[in-house]
Amino acid sequence: MKFLRKYIDSIKPQFKKGGKFEKLSATFDAFETFLFVPDKVTRSGAHIRDSLDMKRLMSVVVMAMLPCLLFGMYNVGYLHYNLTGEAKTFWQIFGFGFLKVFPIVVVSYVSGLAIEFIFAQVRGHEVNEGFLVTGMLIPLVVPVNIPLWMVAVATAFAVIIGKEVFGGTGMNVLNPALTARAFLFFAYPGNMTGDRVWVAGIQGSGMPDTATGATVLGNLLQSVADKETYSAIASKLPGDLDAFLGFVPGSIGETSKLAILIGAFILIYTGVGSWKIIVSTVMGGLVMGWLLNAFSANAYMELPAYRHLLYGGFAFGAVFMATDPVTASQTEKGKWIYGFLIGMLAILIRVVNPAYPEGMMLAILLMNVFAPLIDHYVVEANIKRRLRRLKRAPVKLNNQ
């Protein structure tokens, strides 16, 4: 790698101040630090530093999402051939899904990173690695039949309106990936909901009209609207094992709870994701589920609480979306409250609203907005504690 290093060192002066490509210094820096961990040494403060940097941190999160991505690819192929009734080998199934999903990933990364680079250039700061995660999250939370141009538009919207207008990485209020999803959800509902978007090929000609690709939650909502009894609904639900393994229609990355659990394990074990948020979100969901069970006013409310965790994007949101350190609550106590409310709200929205089958996205976005308020009260309690201590303190010594 000496050759590469020498080459980079030789072109470096052109990107420095006064150089020919001075304006592209952020781009150069991004590529240089991607290839080589810089040789910069500590100048003030602690002489040694943790080996962990943002690149490593973000790439660990991306790694944690890989099981979801790989399973999502397989599932896309599986559902497609299930629909057409063709028998295929494992690699054919995976290959079909790969060809459907990979372009979405590429479009998301290219459009998002291009904007990140431009902003870094204009503002004269480093390219932040946060988008590595967002760029992977977006493909995992959209249906497979999404047109690619919509992915590009939504990504651009998320990066510009969701993040850069607030000042860039670390300053945004809303989770950028969910901003992208919410944008699509409200701007192009026809491509984000219904029973024709989740399975690749279902819109094609020659498909049986009776073929349905509705998600579990979509079916549930429909059945409840049709005033079916719970036992009738339950017979139509997929088996718990299928729902857990993920062989059901849904957004690309959200279906397999097993893959999500692997991701959760990676996040928690490496110390990158907050286990408090994940645990409290799940607890909130279960508590809300039980509460609804206790009322059982309609068939939906009779759905066992644990099944809520198996369906839809609840698990994916709890592990990968709610834990986003920038938009989550930043105090340790606040994280418990924040996660718990996300869990409760998600299930509440699912069950009691007549329009949207899924509530996770809206619950997280709503709590993103409330997270600073939660933090405010947690920090305020700390301040009050300090003031009380000051009042209790014995008579002041005579000091200047």
């Binding site: 943790d50 660990v60 690695e129």
Partner: protein
């Protein structure tokens, strides 16, 4: 049984190069120096010029804003050079030591029989006063104040830190004499804090005129700021003073023998030291006298103090006033190809993002590389993992960044010092310079409050 304070948050960084418990009597160094930069915010006013001969305890310079605070020579000899930096700021006053040491004579006696003013005056004129630092702000204490208590941390949990129980061997009586001095300075208690994890020297655990507290847990359990926070937190308007154990010993010697004897024990540590040992020397010594040819070849960083809070010095630099440790580690000037993507079996991290967690007991050879570029401030929650105080570090750092004095005060800036956030700085994945930030905040408070 005295109370044991348990510290749960923090991190022990296991580095290569611990000092073996062997005393080596260092040869008398040729040069000694007193560095104004060891005392934050000090503006020195010289009282000597190059060529003047001085005794151990002779005044070299005083504090311009508080002329009573004197800084004295640790050895007798001749003022050889006064090194100046940018804008003629005085960087160090260097003394070429004489073969025979002669001492200035100061009043001696039992502090129990002296009044407080006389004790303070003796500490001031001998040059031992700067050994007393105050919280808030972590600066040299103002002699006109009365502290509500005095804290001595008698164990150090920093990476490769010297073992104070070993340092104190042979100076037990002087230590007690020093405590007897300090207990006259405060109407409150003198706290001696020791580790609960191993039996401490009886000089600490059975010290008279003081309260002994036990601490258990990882670094920064040994930081005096953390101990104050747990035992007697600093409120607005309070002063708590802190003194290091070796400085307590020097105070004891001052009142028993009437001289400023700055001899102390220093641990030479770090992965680049061939034989890491303890050295008996005189404060301010040129470290060449102990590093000699005891350092491996290559580009090294010399640190007076530990790797988290120490100050970088030249290979022929001088020991800092408060330091009991010299660390030598490699400079990390190599850039590593795709380093962030490698498994990283030999990379130390608080997180488990590198596979080094497979070998938890390994001693690491860590260099000075930043391991990444500076990035935007992201609340990853690592600060909260290593700051064992009831303080919200993220929020406090942000308050300092936008210079909100009122909010800084509310969030507890009086209770922290640079060293307390050193681990936050170490762990920060955005590579933010947090010690400098906290110092900026403290300086801002000083300016605002004066």
């Amino acid at each position: 049984m005295p109370q044991v304070y348990k510290i749960r948050k923090g991190l022990n960084i296991n580095l290569k190069g611990k000092a073996e418990k062997i005393f080596v009597k260092a040869e008398m160094a040729e040069h000694y120096a007193v560095k104004p930069s060891d005392f934050h915010l000090l503006v020195p006013k010289l009282e000597v010029k190059e060529g003047d001969s001085v005794k151990a305890g002779s005044v070299l310079f005083h504090d311009k804003s508080n002329p009573a605070i004197k800084f004295t020579s640790p050895v007798s000899g001749v003022v050889s050079t006064i090194n100046r930096g940018e804008r003629r700021i005085i960087r160090e006053v260097v003394i070429k030591s004489a073969a025979d040491q002669v001492y200035e004579q100061f009043p001696k006696g039992d502090p129990a029989g002296m009044d407080r003013e006389a004790i303070v005056a003796n500490l001031l004129s001998s040059g031992l006063w700067p050994a007393i630092r105050q919280r808030p702000y972590n600066i040299v204490a103002n002699p006109v104040n009365t502290p509500k208590s005095i804290f001595i941390s008698a164990f150090d949990t920093a990476p490769l830190a010297p073992d104070f129980d070993f340092l104190i061997k042979g100076s037990e009586q002087d230590f007690q004499a020093g405590i007897d001095v300090l207990c006259r300075l405060t109407p409150g208690k003198v706290h001696i804090n020791i580790s609960d994890e191993y039996p401490a020297s009886s000089a600490f655990s059975r010290a008279g005129n003081a309260q002994v507290n036990y601490f258990r847990g990882p670094h920064p359990a040994g930081n005096v700021g953390v101990q104050i926070h747990r035992i007697d937190p600093v409120n607005k308007g309070d002063f708590v003073w802190t003194v290091g154990p070796q400085e307590v010993i020097m105070m004891g010697r001052l009142f028993q023998k009437g001289i400023y004897d700055a001899s102390k024990v220093v641990a030479l540590t770090g992965s680049e030291v061939i034989k890491a040992r303890y050295y008996k020397l005189i404060g301010g010594a040129c470290i060449k006298s102990i590093t000699g040819n005891n350092i491996t070849e290559g580009c090294q960083r010399y640190i007076s103090g530990n790797v988290l809070t120490g100050s970088q010095i030249e290979p022929v630099g001088y020991l800092g006033y408060y330091d009991a440790q010299v660390t030598v580690i490699p400079e990390g000037i190599e850039s590593e190809f795709l380093g962030w993507a490698m498994p990283g079996l030999d990379k130390y991290s608080l997180s488990r993002t590198f596979f080094s967690w497979l070998a938890p007991r390994r001693e690491y050879e860590v260099n000075t590389n930043m391991h990444g570029g500076h990035r935007a401030f992201v609340a990853t929650g690592v600060y909260e993992k290593v700051l064992p105080m009831k303080i919200y570090p993220m929020q406090l750092f942000k308050a300092i960044m936008f210079e909100d004095i009122d909010l800084m005060e509310k969030l507890g800036i009086y209770e922290i010092a640079e060293e307390d956030v050193a681990l936050c700085e170490f762990a920060c994945p955005s590579k933010t310079e947090l010690q400098a930030l906290v110092r900026r905040g403290l300086d801002l408070m000083i300016k605002e409050m004066s």
